[in-house]
Structure formats: structure tokens, C-alpha cells
């Protein structure tokens, strides 16, 4: 296993006290002791999730990156086993019954290793691993860490004229972590965009921002959510209450069941069944937005903001659905710029 500090490759026996025999730096993980990955693999996950250290991410983003990596290792194996089983079976048919036995064994092994739909590593287990990494290597650069409320007042005093202004657009989410992801990556700053969760996050700015949103009758609202019954019904919910002026337009750009297939292996078991769950995919599973890498979330949301022309009116009459946001690579105009008047 390679040390991430000095890159020395060492045998298990040489790693006394979980330390590198050359530079003595500690290892956070030891696969021989049952950890699902090495320090190098964890570091590679950090590099990938942060797009080379340029994008900030939540612990939920990192969790799914690790899930992908721990499951990725076994992804090719079942296909190889299945191919060998079929090959043995054919040999058994055409050559000798002797080959039926390995075919049977290989088939059983294939079933055991076949990738599932659900995440096998729980978030609780991941959190323990992250805690150990933090202890040994420090908090990863780019990991979004909220300031403790004790460091400042819960509701910050803003210059008084701020409340008279508004935003061109707003992103409303179904969970606070998505708000964190967008704000920490300056999405609000780059796109003159309010970002809020429907349940009141971020608390210090929530009331002021909600008031400001009502100052713009032409507000464009983008709803970004998990593939859950609650998330998928959020746009409809917002369209029928008094969050915005009636003339605001609302666009659902969240994850929906049709986006789920590429993320097999990261699905979660659905929560308690409700009438909103219906009888389809949502009745059995859910998919968290954090499964999409931050760079992709930001870029695809930006495209959705830019490509308002290709919107399709959704099932409700009061809002639009942009189902392409997480499944297309449409190019976008980015407009704006310096002006000479």
C-alpha cells in the first residue's frame, strides 16, 4: 500500500502502528484490517469529487464518491464470471459434462457479486471513515464546513437598503446540503441567484431573502431536489402557495426517477410509503442529488438557467419541468459582459 506523503509502497508486515515505514506518517485506513479502501483511494476520491481541488463539496457528495469507488472495484468481476459460466456451459453441452460443475459454481459466484441497486456502504460507516481521515490527515480541502452559530449572530445585521432589492432568479431545494453546495461554490454570486431550502435554510438569511424574492414579479424559480416523493412534488407545492408573486415562473430541474438508472448502486431504500409515492420507482427507492458530482450539478443547473427556451410544461399547469437538466449536454449561451453603453 502506498503512502500518500512519500509514495513508498509497503507490505502489511512493515506497517507497524499503521505507519509508513519510510516517513512514519500514519495511515488512516488499513484494508487488511477490514477498511473498504486505502488512503490513496480516499485521496483519489477527494481529487475527483473536487474536480482537482477547484470545486467545494459536501460530505454527502464525498460519501457517494466513496460508494461508487468501493462498488466500482467489483463491477467488472461479475461480468467476467458470467462470461466464464456461459463458456463452461457451452463446453458442457458440446464437449463433456465435466464442464457443468464449474459452470454452476461460476453462476453462483456471479449472482453473489452482481452489482446491486442499493448503496452497500452506509453513511454512518462512511462518517466513521471520514472522521478517521480527518484525525490523521486533517479536514480535506474543499469540504464544506458550516461556521458554528456561536461564531456569529443567528440573524446577521445587513445594510438596511438591501431588503429593497431582489434577485433575478432563485433556486429552492428540498435539503440544506444542496444549499450549502451552491452557496459555498458562489453560485449565488455568479448568477445573481437566491438559494434557499424549502424548510428554512440558511437560517441567518432566510427571512430577508424570502422578502427580497417578493420584490421581483418576473422572478424565475428553479427547484432542485432529490428523486423522492417529496422532492418531485416540490415544484407543484411552491406553485400553489405564496412564496413568490403569482407572475413568477417555476421550473423543476431536480432529479426524477428517469435519471436514476446511471446511478445504480447508489440508490437508497424509499422512506415510508405515502400516497405521493405512487406505485412506480419512487415507491421502492430514492436517489439523493448529492450522488451527482458537484461540478456537474453546478454546470447543469447553469445550463438550465440559460436554456429557458426548451422548457416543457409539466403535469401541473403552474410550473415547467426541465427533465433534460441532468440528462443532456445542451450547450448554453452565457450572455452578459462588459459594456460600452
Amino acid at each position: 500500500m502506498k503512502c500518500i506523503h512519500c509514495h513508498t509502497d509497503s507490505k502489511y508486515a512493515a506497517r507497524t502502528n499503521r505507519s509508513c515505514p519510510k516517513c512514519q506518517h500514519q495511515f488512516a485506513f488499513e484494508p487488511k484490517a477490514g477498511d473498504p479502501l486505502t488512503d490513496g483511494a480516499f485521496q483519489a476520491a477527494l481529487e475527483r469529487i473536487s474536480s482537482g481541488g477547484t470545486v467545494r463539496f459536501t460530505d454527502r457528495n464525498l460519501y457517494y464518491e466513496i460508494v461508487r469507488r468501493t462498488q466500482h472495484r467489483s463491477k467488472a468481476l461479475p461480468w467476467v464470471l458470467a462470461a466464464l459460466a456461459v463458456f463452461s456451459l457451452l463446453l458442457g453441452v458440446f464437449a463433456s459434462a465435466f464442464f457443468f460443475f464449474p459452470a454452476g459454481l461460476l453462476s453462483i459466484a456471479t449472482i453473489i457479486t452482481w452489482p446491486g441497486k442499493l448503496a452497500k456502504l452506509s453513511f454512518t460507516q462512511f462518517s466513521r471513515h471520514l472522521g478517521r481521515w480527518n484525525q490523521v490527515h486533517g479536514v480535506p480541502k474543499g469540504l464544506i464546513v458550516r461556521k458554528e452559530p456561536a461564531q456569529g449572530p443567528l440573524v446577521r445585521a445587513l445594510p438596511p437598503d438591501i431588503q429593497h432589492y431582489s434577485f433575478d432568479r432563485a433556486v429552492v431545494t428540498d435539503r440544506a446540503e444542496t444549499v450549502d453546495l451552491l452557496l459555498a461554490n458562489n453560485f449565488h454570486f455568479e448568477n445573481n441567484c437566491a438559494v434557499l431550502s424549502v424548510d428554512g435554510y440558511p437560517e441567518p438569511a432566510f427571512d430577508v431573502v424570502r422578502g427580497m424574492l417578493k420584490n421581483n414579479p418576473k422572478l424565475a424559480v428553479y427547484v432542485l431536489h432529490d428523486a423522492t416523493p417529496k422532492g418531485c412534488s416540490l415544484a407543484g407545492h411552491l406553485a400553489t402557495n405564496d412564496w413568490f408573486q403569482p407572475s413568477a415562473s417555476i421550473v423543476d430541474v431536480g432529479l426524477a426517477p428517469e435519471h436514476a438508472r446511471p446511478f445504480r448502486g447508489c440508490w437508497q431504500v424509499a422512506g415510508e410509503w405515502t400516497a405521493a409515492s405512487g406505485a412506480g420507482w419512487l415507491a421502492h427507492y430514492s436517489l439523493e442529488l448529492a450522488v451527482v458530482r458537484p461540478e456537474q450539478i453546478i454546470k447543469r443547473l447553469f445550463r438550465a438557467l440559460s436554456n429557458t427556451d426548451r422548457l416543457v410544461r409539466g403535469g401541473g399547469e403552474l410550473y415547467f419541468v426541465d427533465s433534460g437538466a441532468f440528462s443532456s449536454d445542451a450547450s448554453a449561451s452565457d450572455g452578459g459582459g462588459d459594456s460600452f453603453g
Binding site: 445573481n192 420584490n215 454546470k299 460600452f340 453603453g341
Partner: protein, 580 residues
Amino acid sequence: MSGICGWLGQGAANTLERMLSAIDYRGDRQDTVTLPGVALGYRFWNGRKGKAPSILDSDAELVACAGSFAQRVGSPTALIADRLRESPPRLGDLDGAFAFAHWNKQAHVLTLGRDCFGVRSLYYVEHEGTFYFATELKQLLAIPGLPIAVDPSALHKYLTFSFVPGEAVPIRGIRRLLPGSILRHEHGQGEITSYFRLVEQIDESMRDTKTAVRAVRRLGKQAVQRRLWDQEKVGLFLSGGLDSSSVAAWLKECQADVHVFSLDFGERSVEREQAKLVAASLDFEQTWVPVNGERIAAVFSDVVHRLDLPFGDPVTAPQYLLGRAAREAGLNAVFNGEGGDQLFGGWTSKPMIAAEVYAGLYESEASSREERYLRSYHRFYGLEDELYTSEFKREIGPAGQRRAHLTPYLAEAGQNFLHRVRLADLSLKGSQNILPRAERMANGWGLDVRTPLFDRALAETAFRLPPELKLHGACEKYVLKLAMQTALPEEIVWQKKFGMSVPITDFVLSEPLAGIVEDHLGDSAVRRRGLFRPEFVQALRAGHDAPSETRRRRVGERLWTLLMLEAWLRRFVDGAGSAP
């Protein structure tokens, strides 16, 4: 148009000649006066209205004045002399695009001054005991024996702002007088004082929207009227946005003879239809100026030379082409719509407001308004580790020097937030970037540039308006829109702002500009210069930006910023400012 220079001390006669020759495109005549210990030079176009016909040389004083006042005056030099006779000098009501030098023969005091918004520039340097000054940097570089060494901290600021802010310029030892200031040089000592500063003082009567709208309409028209002299035909650079369209409408109301010039980026044009609509609705003759990579490449070298300082906004080359078209049409003066965003609350305020609302939520985020503002320039702030070589990084000076340019405005207590952002925009981006570069691109073609939205009375009134009349909810320049809604087509006034966006990424990544980029920013050129990491520049040349960057145009903007800097270094440092 026109330029001045001079010295205090022991300069050589041919030095004055060299300094005037360096700006030969600013006039076909020159005038010089040399007295023991002092000399003044003036380059100008013969017979141009509103300009001084020569250096004023009276018993009491010598006065040279470049540029002109907003309102036509009998003699600009006599007016300056008049005002400087008073103590303290009374410059409070002067408006226009001017830079002057005044020598008091009795008191042996030299006074240099610049207009309040910074249309014209003035630089100075002390060399071998002589104090030199000039309206362009390249004139000072013509001084024989002047050491020309780069100031890395000024380059560092350029790479953040896309222009060089403040008094320092990228050549060590040379300083710039800031807009609205005068420098008094006496007994070998210089003292700088400011005679102009915009302060927000809300006028209660302006809380009545109708009163405010009437004031803006009246002052806007007056600002245009003041800048129309006699019955001359004038040009207008019309983008189709609200600001230049408003100037067009006021020119129409003043019954001016107007020829408009608009940029044509072909399929990539953003506001072409709007520019066409405005010209047609006001019945103005319109000339389309095609802009593409080939045309920019053809004038690139001359653009660098005439800009005088590095300016990293790609709008300069199209402005140069506009100026050339206006000159070819036989015009001497052009109007533009610069200043609307700075005065009336354009879109640039919005990111700062969003950032203010959400500030302080996370560990390791930009903690101050100044840092957030620096990020809004979208150049290399925050990318220093990726771009700078370790050698360059060691030389750029202490932390906080960029923030220091903003603190006087953004940290101003007791003022509305919008006012603080507007003031920072006006003082930095407006006065040190937009106005000087526009002046140089127009004056490079012998054109007198007129910027009525930077009219002093109009600007002072804009700072007396309640902030919600500027940014009304999310509606930018609200009061200007209300003022113009009966004079312009509805879609021009109430349309969503797109901005005059130059498709620079497409241009710099394709031939022939890609060849110029390769020559200036190829691996070997970058290594030779030693400022930047070649791999970062190479990624930009390949069209790759940071993964977190959502807008493709940033690649072109960043590449153009680096290209202009390298081209500027070659001409002004390696070549000491020589003409192409």
C-alpha cells in the same frame, strides 16, 4: 485628442521634442515653451473647436491644457489660469475631459490637474533631479536614459482587475495623478489634493418618483446639449443597450446631426436588432462595423500602442474599429453611453448584493467585501497559485494591496450598500478603466470623445437619488428606464440586459488571432518572460478553464488579458514605448 508634457528642472530641449513625437497621432501641430528650469509642450489638431490653440504664455504664467471642457469656453488655458489664481484653486465646477499643467512664474509653482472622472490621464516621474510629466506613459518612456523596470505589484493588480488601478503604473518610479486631483509641485516637493468626490446625499424631494424622473430627463438632455458645439455633425457609438440608446434619444431631442456606428459580430451579435431598431426609430444614419478575428488581428499591434497601458477587456479592439469607421466618415467627435451602469445601478451591483446577503456562512470563504468585489472582475483572483511562477509570486508585494484600493469605498460607514458598490465601480472601473480606454481608442483616431452620462451635474444628481430608484427590486437603472420610456421603443427600455459581449473566446482560439496568441503566450514565450506557469497558460490556449467555471467566455477573457499584458510588455518595456 491633444496631449501635453513638460518638465521642471534640467531637461534637454530635444527631450521635449521626443515626448511630443511619441504622440504624433494626437495632432498635426505642436507648441513648446522653454524657460530656465521649466518647459511645456502641447500637441494638438489645428483648428479644432473647444481646444486651446496654443500654450498660454503670459507675464504671470504658462498654461498647457489637453482635451476640452464639457461646455465650450473661450480659452481653456485662460480658464485654468483664472481658477488657479484663487486660493484654494476653484476647480469645483469644471467638467469635461482635460489634463493641464500650470506654471506660476512668480511663485515658481507647477500645478498639474486632471478632470473629475478621469477621461484624460497625467503621469509623472522624477529622473536625475528633473520632474517630468505627460498625458501618456509612452511620452515619459521617451526620456533619454530613463530606467524602465517592471513593477511586479502593478502587474499583480492588473491580473486581478484587468487594468492597473491607483497611482502606480507597471513601470517603477512612474506615478499617475488620480482623477479629480491636482498636484502642486513647489521647492522640490509635491503635494496632491483631491478637488472632487461624489458623496451620497439623498435629496428628500427625489423620493417622489416623478420629480426624480423629470430631473434625470432634464439633466441627461442638458449633458448632451452642453457637449454639442455649433452645428457640427457628431458620431454615436450605439450598442442597442439602454445607455447608448438614451444618449441617442437625447441627441435627437437636441436636433443634432448624428451618424451612429454599431458593432456587427455576425451570428454572434447580441444586441444587433436593438441597435437597428433605435437607429431606425430616431431616423439616424447607421454604419455597421464588422468585427471578427481577422480584423482584430490586423489592428492588434496598434491597439496595444495606443492604449498606452495594459487594458484586459476585449472591448478595446472593437472600440478601435468603431473609432476608425467614425474617422473615415469624416467626423471629429463621437458620443458614447459609458457610465450608465456606474451611475444608475446596473447589473454589476447584483452579485455584490447576493454575496452580502449570504456572507459568513462557511469556513474558508472570502471573508471581506473587498475580496468578494475582487472576485467579480473574473480574471485571476484566487488563481494566483495556478498562474504565477514562484519567482513572480515572491515579487508581487505584501498581501492586502489590492483590497486597499476598495476599502475607501466599500467600507464607508453610514452609506447605503448600493452607493458603496456604485462608488467603487465609478472610481475604479469607470474612472480608471472604462473612460481612459474609451478615450484612447477614440482619440487614437483624432476623435473628441464625449461621455454625457459622466456629466458632473447628472452624476451628482444620481448620487442624490434614493437607491431603490436605481435598483428597483431586480430592475436595473429603474429611474433611467422611467425617464426614457416615452422616448425609446418599449423593448429597448424594458428588455433584459444582455451587455455588449465580445465573442472573444471564439476569436482567440481560432486563426489568425490564435497565431498571435501562440507567438505571445506559447510555452517558450511564457518561460522567457518568467511570470506565468506554462502549463496553466497552455490549458487556456487549448480552451480549458477551471472545472468550476461555467461560462466559456471566461477562457477568452483570461487569455486576452494575458495576451494584452505580454504585448504591452514587449512594446513598452522591451521596446520602451516605440511605435509599431
